[in-house]
């Protein structure tokens, strides 16, 4: 790589200009994922779908009267320079805007488990704290 602008050595990582890095093992993220915690009061299910070059993320929250389907949103793929159990795979970031709150999320697979980190910011005046939370999901294999 030619000398380009950088703010840390990782910005000079040659793999970043390899087209394959952008979609490395992305198939591993696609599909339906169920929360490993059957008693969660947070996100019960995540669906990650690919439409051409777009990645669409659907979340289902646990509601008082049944599931709450969050508006589907497009995710942004990030190359993942980490080595997870000997296998690199991309991560996906997605932002959800529900009006009264926003959720910035990122999703990645670690040892076959999908990890979602949510950063929730309340836009209403409910007095609730903005927070960060993490949940874990297993792949739902359809027979």
């Amino acid at each position: 790589m030619e000398r380009v602008a950088f703010k840390q050595n990782s910005h000079l990582e040659p793999a970043l200009t390899d087209p394959a890095t952008r979609t490395l093992n992305v198939e591993g993220l696609l599909g339906t994922w169920k929360n490993t915690n059957t008693k969660t009061t947070g996100i019960s299910e995540i669906v990650i779908a690919r439409e051409g070059s777009r990645f669409l993320i659907s979340l289902v929250g646990v509601g008082s009267d049944g599931p709450i389907h969050w508006p589907r949103t497009e995710g942004t793929v990030f190359a993942n320079l980490e080595e997870e159990a000997g296998q690199k795979a991309v991560a996906i970031a997605a932002n959800f805007d529900l009006g009264f709150m926003t959720a910035d999320t990122h999703l990645r697979v670690n040892k076959g488990v999908l990890v979602i980190v949510l950063i929730v910011t309340f836009q209403d005046d409910s007095g609730r704290s903005d927070y960060v939370n993490r949940e874990f999901f297993y792949k739902h294999h359809v027979e």
Binding site: N9, H11, G42, H106, V117, S126, Y131
Partner: protein, 139 residues
Amino acid sequence: MDMQFAQLFDRVEPADNAAPIEFSQWVGTWINSNPDTTGIARLVISEVDGNFFLEVQAVGPDGPIAWGKTPIKTLAANPASRKGAGFTCSYDFGFVTTRLQGMIVKGLIVLGQFHTFKDDSGRAGFFVREYFGIQHGRY
């Protein structure tokens, strides 16, 4: 309770409407657990008049690179809590924007970094996590 929520986790009574998130306990210098990092070597969290700031020192080919001081948004662990459990902030360097998401887990900062290049270098945006322990000066 007339409160909107998209998951039961968020249907709570706030602990105290007036109280800010307590974050002072995380003020200090945090060192990367990986001495061979090619990313961020050190984080310094500071407080001025109840506002919190982050200074990043990254690893460059010719020595450390100071990113400067930026305000952070503090986060709790759940919507009813006022105890600091994480933060977010971003840096815009022109050619790249870097979003940082810190989560405090078992006394360590787990720092998610999202780098999005805006120049014509063809570099893919990338994600990486790094782990930081506080420099406490004991033992």
